[in-house]
Symmetry: C2
Amino acid sequence: MRKILITNDDGVKSKGISQLIDMMRPYGEIIVVAPFEAQSGMSAALTIGKPLRLTELRSDVGLKVYACSGTPADCVKMAMNQIFVGKLPDLLVSGINHGSNASIASLYSGTLGATAEGTVYGIPSIGLSICSHNPDADLTGVVVYGKKIIDYFFKNPFKSDTFLNVNFPNIKPEEIKGIKFAHQGKGQWIKEFVQREDPYGFKYYWMTGEFFNLEPDNDSSDNNVVEAGYVSIVPHKIDTTDYDELKRLESIWKL
Amino acid sequence: MRKILITNDDGVKSKGISQLIDMMRPYGEIIVVAPFEAQSGMSAALTIGKPLRLTELRSDVGLKVYACSGTPADCVKMAMNQIFVGKLPDLLVSGINHGSNASIASLYSGTLGATAEGTVYGIPSIGLSICSHNPDADLTGVVVYGKKIIDYFFKNPFKSDTFLNVNFPNIKPEEIKGIKFAHQGKGQWIKEFVQREDPYGFKYYWMTGEFFNLEPDNDSSDNNVVEAGYVSIVPHKIDTTDYDELKRLESIWKL
């Protein structure tokens, strides 16, 4: 029987993780270790200098659910050190995230921080995200197309040292045009803070921002592929060395 | 006059950032935006859903120092939105971090979360770390060899979309054998938690761990290069797409 580890960054009570559990149950035994509270934008952050808690919430045949007080990456470490202990799950799935993790969002994503941590452990890891921040978003399309992707994986696994970042357009399943491989799009956030003043006259700032797409139209970047109505799949590397630039600098810096 | 943005993850009061400021002053005008408190292991995490503060601590000719209540990546965003506003600094330097950021530590590093954020903005960004967690570590060697690297950069800049992760062995300058380019070493932490019991009988966990080097001896990984007494330089990419695996999967998954 396959063992599947599930986590997310929106917290153990989110609709996304609840739908993901239902979607994954036919594939094997499910072990959930997810944050107590929302941990969006936590990247691969770890909790250092503060103690962590791990609480069992549910234990049924085929489904165990734990909540962890830390970040998504903490959840994976906790699962591997306290629950799996020396054995690897057959698959880690993180999500379903409420919000796009395409383009540069992949850098900040807690959903993908968890898949990166899974990959460090040698677990095949997939992150699923819908391009809507609505906590009650319709996830029917994610489930239909997500299962197709899980089936592809079990037939032909991707290589270790790589995890998949899958983004779904926020449209009905019958409107989704298909699935496409893509590369991480170039983009950044702009106008990132809203300034306020507290009752004592001091300024403070809320992070907000607008996404600014730096990829040309109609290219094969994840953001553009999703905008065009397709599900995008980007394989991401754990080894982020820029080997081309390494060679170039080696030849001109002459250390 | 060059403008140089400095940040770190050990906080604005650490010895590492204070030595970095002294090291960089001859190169131009220094603007520091660093976390109020230690933010180790924060990766590229952002502060979402909590307001941020920005406080000016010092304003001299050639040196301004601000503290920000958020993460290292928040500090860079704050600098770009509230201080530089539309102009880019000539260089961002993050550190000097107290602790190695070689191998897989680069994934979790707040020091490098800041350089990644700088790179997203198009700022040439360099992270400097010494392989010692001693908050009073001797940084003489970092300053001597760090200046050499800054000089190389101003003569022949590295390309945008890439930042440098520089790690220094914890030895005296005269014992350092030189500087070497390297790739991100393969490795992971093991035995990551120490379990305790609170006075009410409930368990809690402290993150600790031992680094497990998965690279063969004498290869050109950053961790091995530093262990051999050299300063290591790894160029890291912001686009972490695995293009080889993308091609391979495209040909076998037939979406």
